[in-house]
Symmetry: C2
Amino acid sequence: MFLVKIYVQLKKDILDAQGKATKKALESLGFEGVQDVRIGKEIRILLDGRDISEVSEKVRQMCDKLLINPVMEDYDFKIMEVEK
Amino acid sequence: MFLVKIYVQLKKDILDAQGKATKKALESLGFEGVQDVRIGKEIRILLDGRDISEVSEKVRQMCDKLLINPVMEDYDFKIMEVEK
């Protein structure tokens, strides 16, 4: 079995309103030196599969067909083999 | 300057409705072997600081005071030094 972690972030030129609000909130709590905050998703999937290359292809299809909005989001992922 | 990536996930015993819905959607698209889907956050912060240990302490405080709901969420983070 494989554990896949997919990291999804808004593209750089798209305004991240939640990140901006979080930056302001941190500053109002007295935290200094915060240059930027971006809030993305971490999707963890437990997945059966033969090997890393098969799983990797499957994950790419999942991202293309459902998980990612390619107009607004970038993603990358990593795959780890785990005990059943 | 430091880039901090904070990974936030719902605690294991808390129902992840978004994850469950995503699992169902993947299955209805024909993806087989999906055992579990959990959806969390990846928060990226660009932060000034002297060294890793100072930044690490600051990040822990940010999580305690604002970013994390300790009743429902677990987190971990990593810190990388980056060019200004």
